[in-house]
Symmetry: D2
Subunit: 401 residues, 4 copies
């Protein structure tokens, strides 16, 4: 689990050899699931949440399909049905199981999927060991590992959704603490002067296609908080009637609040007059100083309106990122997820990775305690539809000066 | 598994002592599940299909709630949450888990539910052994066992739905043969003259409230087939374009056919130009002489129209039941499920058993090979909504004379 | 408008010549609409409610399609598009406008439809006047007129739905009184002994196919109220919490109550603590002695359960019909709409008339003040889905003795 | 109707006196409806399309509510129910009729709404004539007129939707030509160098709040077409299988295409193998040189991908607007609708105008032939959800250089 401190201290951890990284990432995925019972791996309560066993298999399928089948001589496919079952959005590769049906597919079971992982891991180790391991395959392996890091975060949030919607509120494990982060006390803001700034990834290491091209933007001067909003600050909004006052909400947001009866962040429950929230360690009191998470963009924007401030754009966030603290939660920005100038998708199935999602979603910046340590950058662009609450999503405020 | 022969030879098997019956029924429930993997116990692909683990727990909850908690001194409830989780439609007893959410509740797991069954079985054995085991509790025990027999049939059909909608078509077990019944060759019809006939249960043994009161009906003369319709006969309907010709269908049925793109019984698949069907033993060729199952009332009625004949009423069926063969499948009748004259519900939660379903459903008569041997009577009234296909439901034809 | 008295005094009014009847029925249809504004003719607020202009055209289309085009030499079709637009459920005749889209079809307008009516009326008069007017065409004309009588009742109820869901509650006309019937004071019940009774139409005059064949049924002895339930009696059920107590409701009914938040008959509104109801003459106080209307079968059955009594079957109702008063409202019975023994549909499109609706619906007997005087018989079988409230539907109670 | 030439020649028409402008705008609204029959004013086929009579009343309600009731001494409200009926999204002002129910409200009828317009127009004329007509009220009047100009465009598109979905394809009027614009022949592109550019409204005249604050953006160099895409160019995309190839579509777009079976722009119909399209003057052949309209953002983006180019951002469009031709159609840009730096909403109900829509929508720039002549500016920001086709929406292409 990445500590918040390490995220702040260094966004570029020591480079591991590719096999070390492979071993570390692959075992962390399984470790995340260590508190699960077999039954927990199967279900898909809503279409955005995938069954844990699907994540385990899908991340493995990536390595088999894009690397082993192409590059390892004599590789024997583990099971020819798996391409169909564990493909996700890769329309190029073949027919896929419709996303909202994933949760009814009880076979193959968890044991068989673990065997699939072992089979692929073993063959990947073999491939990485041979002299002819090409740069292209190394690059794909790195992409596959970063893909798996993303699914690790989804594993946490999907497991939380499954257990957190069980009327018994079972914990994943008492010691999991990715969603109980207290903020440092050092409040305050940072002022950034107007000017032309460089945005996007411009180095050599791994990055996603959506971080490119590096380009210039002009920013008016602004002020941004050093820390994201706390649960305590958000409780004030709730208690002042914020969910019942249309003036703070976007029109689509107001429809969403009313159609779904939303009156708090996800996982909040009022028990005997006191707010509690479900965490992966079980039901806990809401602490005033902890980072607010599990709010939608709609809620973030409504809170900002209520405060008379606003969310930063993703460009403001990136420019200020050296001077603020981050790593407590993913932070909604006021930027829609759109391509940077000169954005280009790769050819073929790997080209489906990011571009096809560049509509109807908002950008989140930062990282959460559930994020793999290697998987955060100042230029990293996360994105979700604006009504979604189930990620470790909070926000910080900004304003013009 | 009941043999078809025994159902024909005798509808009143040798009476077992209540404890023997209890032991037999309870162990059969677990045996039905013996081919399942843990993952299969959890899911609920559509609202009519319940997760197998829910059936295991719900049938157990019946004994705990209505018998042990009332009659066994010092009984310790296994888990106070279970009343909420495993109640079904018993509104009297307390808040229940909404039916369509059952499939997302991964905890308690299968092991814990098996422990629940053991705990209740042990205490029931204790209770049945003591002298003060009352007639009222004996009667409730018998009701609970008949309730469990009904859930055994649902277990078969729900397991079939879960495995039969998996793209891999896994069998429950190669040796299960409840849904592959070949019919005897002796075709022919029975003629029944007009007259007043006695209908309903009029004896001493166990029966459901919906079989009473016994009463008289006047029937015009009619003719009824000795055997239900075969898969081969139904294939002729399909191949003659029956699913595409509105003239054979009820208006609601025609909407159902078109909204769902129905063009065959459930579990039929055309593979390389040949009809196959999923059975609990895997994907098999359709055999011409086997009993047709997994059709809705809508399909049964359309077939009858196509043939220029009709379905029998439940009264005609009951009057003819001594002279026809049955036990191959549940048979849709042309009777809506309505109360008999003088029908009375019991007081309290047990009174919810049958009366509240007496609208919008059609009566099925007979029994299937999946029916517990003790659980079929000439007066037995099964019922389902007319669009449902997932039961072992077929039909036979009749006509006026 | 039929007076309640005339309905009681004589169910067989003086036979009119077919042309007189034609003229009378056709002009009554237009008269019913006399309080409408052009805008009111167009909309379809829910799929069961058709736009008034559609009723005007569809009833006319019947005469053009089944009579004029077949029997009148040289008949010029008014508009070849109308067959497509104003066909209803007659699948045989050709593609039809999907029912739930009818309300968006603003052209042809009301004036053009009135011209269509005039064109068809003129040609029908010509046809009925010639010597070769055949018995078959006379029979079809009579069917067309009875079809139009049914649509007259639907015109009343659909107009009421349209105006009654307008926030301004505009009356159709202050003097319309089809839905404000006070009941006679003579309460009491009728006792009918057990026995074999004759059911169904067995005479020479007009009747629908669903009233045949005449046949015998055996009835146990029963007791039935002389009058239907009043609004005042139903208010007691409401005030005692009837809508909130699941014990009185069928399972499907309870789902309906909760999904739709039903807490009163349709058109009831609590204004300043007092129950009012929308009538075609505007918003009025609920009167205790008036016939209850606009309840669903679900509500009728729940009320009966609350009273510890039951609804009569349609057979009981028919047998008792000479000794009870009726004509106040359509009365839900506890009979599902199913074919009588020997029921046969006509060939071709006219054969679609009734049989295709014989599933999922409950029978109503009687007649309402909106029913055409010629259009009620002791054997008449009306039918609707059990959740529908928008007809002039009430009920009376019965019990075993 | 604005001519395309005038739009190009001058985006700032001669300033009219406020009363002249009021008279001109108000009468144009009624003129747009001159081809309608009463029935056409009533319906709402989908929730985005409002009944024409609602537009007539709602635009009038604006002047009554925000001007007459506040500023005209002794003003008598026309009808106290209208505030409730014709409010749109102004949550501050009171309960409103849910948008998707508007089409079932047949009263008040068209005549009464025309009387409402006359009443308000007369009183507005009185108010504008008096010496105390304040600057605040003059500003609100101008806002009300610009609001009405927007609804004029919606009147065109909503009328088109209503008539264009009638199976008879009735024209509004043979002479209406707002949706049949042939493009000039002068193809070609404009190149814009990188640099800091000024964006947004920075003058004195009328503008919407969303056009402010004026601010600077940095643009990389780019190239943009002088003309939007023609119907002929789009036909090539269609005929090359563009609607069937997922590679060109956003993920949300691909879901939209498949869920709705989209295979052409709205109003396109293949008749006898040839593409026709419904226009407000009736069904016409598709002409290769006419401006493509009625495509969604999804379709615009897919076409651009197919061409290997992209849509311009709204900033690129604005910077290039002096050197390109426009006024043929509204043009989708690749910018999400978001606030400019320093954007501020007004207080109270008028503040609801634009800010609340700043999520989930894409910006369109330009103007269509249906746009009021006074109502187009280089800085004007139109916006709609990306799946909507019913506006006069096309697009032009750009690329990096």
């Amino acid at each position: 689990m990445p500590s918040v401190t390490s995220l702040e201290g260094s966004s570029v951890p020591v480079k591991k050899s590719i096999l070390d990284l492979f071993t570390d990432v692959r075992s962390r995925t399984v470790n995340i699931c260590s508190g699960l019972q077999t039954e927990d791996y199967v279900v898909q309560p809503v279409s955005d949440v995938s069954p844990p066993k699907w994540h385990l298999a899908h991340t493995t399928w990536f390595f088999e399909t894009f690397i082993l089948k192409e590059a390892l001589d004599g590789y024997r496919e583990f099971d020819t049905d798996f391409g169909f079952l564990f493909n996700s959005y890769y329309e190029t590769v073949g027919e896929r199981v419709i996303r909202s049906n994933r949760g009814n597919i009880t076979r193959p079971g968890v044991d068989r999927i673990m065997a699939y992982r072992a089979h692929v891991d073993e063959n990947m180790a073999k491939l990485m060991d041979i002299d002819s391991f090409s740069d292209e395959m190394r690059m794909r392996t790195e992409l596959g590992l970063n893909h798996e890091m993303q699914h690790q975060e989804l594993l946490y949030t999907d497991i939380k959704y499954i257990l957190g919607h069980n009327p018994l509120f079972p914990p994943l494990h008492e010691s999991v603490n990715v969603d109980q982060v207290e903020l440092a006390k050092e409040k305050g803001t940072v002022k950034i002067p107007e000017g032309i700034y460089k945005i996007g990834f411009d180095g050599d290491g791994f990055h996603f296609d959506n971080e490119r091209n590096p380009h210039r933007v002009f920013l008016e001067s602004f002020e941004i908080d050093k820390l994201p909003v706390t649960a305590g600050e958000y409780l004030e909004f709730m208690e002042s009637g914020g969910y019942g006052d249309f003036r703070f909400w976007h029109a689509d947001a107001w429809d969403w609040v009313n159609a779904n009866g939303v009156d708090s962040p996800l996982y909040f429950h009022k028990v005997d007059g006191k707010w509690k929230r479900y965490t992966l360690a079980g039901l806990k009191d809401v602490k005033l100083d902890e980072a607010l998470v599990h709010v939608s963009y709609y809620e973030a924007a409504a809170f900002a309106n209520w405060k008379g401030r606003r969310l930063p754009t993703e460009f403001e966030w990136e420019v200020a990122s050296d001077q603020i603290r981050w790593g407590f939660c993913w932070e909604w920005t006021n930027s829609a997820y759109l391509p940077y100038p000169g954005f280009k998708t790769a050819d073929g199935a790997l080209g489906e990775y990011n571009g096809k999602f560049m509509v109807n979603q908002m950008v989140l910046r930062g990282a959460s305690p559930a994020t793999y340590s290697n998987h955060s950058r100042h230029t990293y662009r996360n994105f979700f539809h604006p009504h979604l609450q189930w990620q470790f999503s909070g926000f910080r405020l900004a304003n013009n000066i």
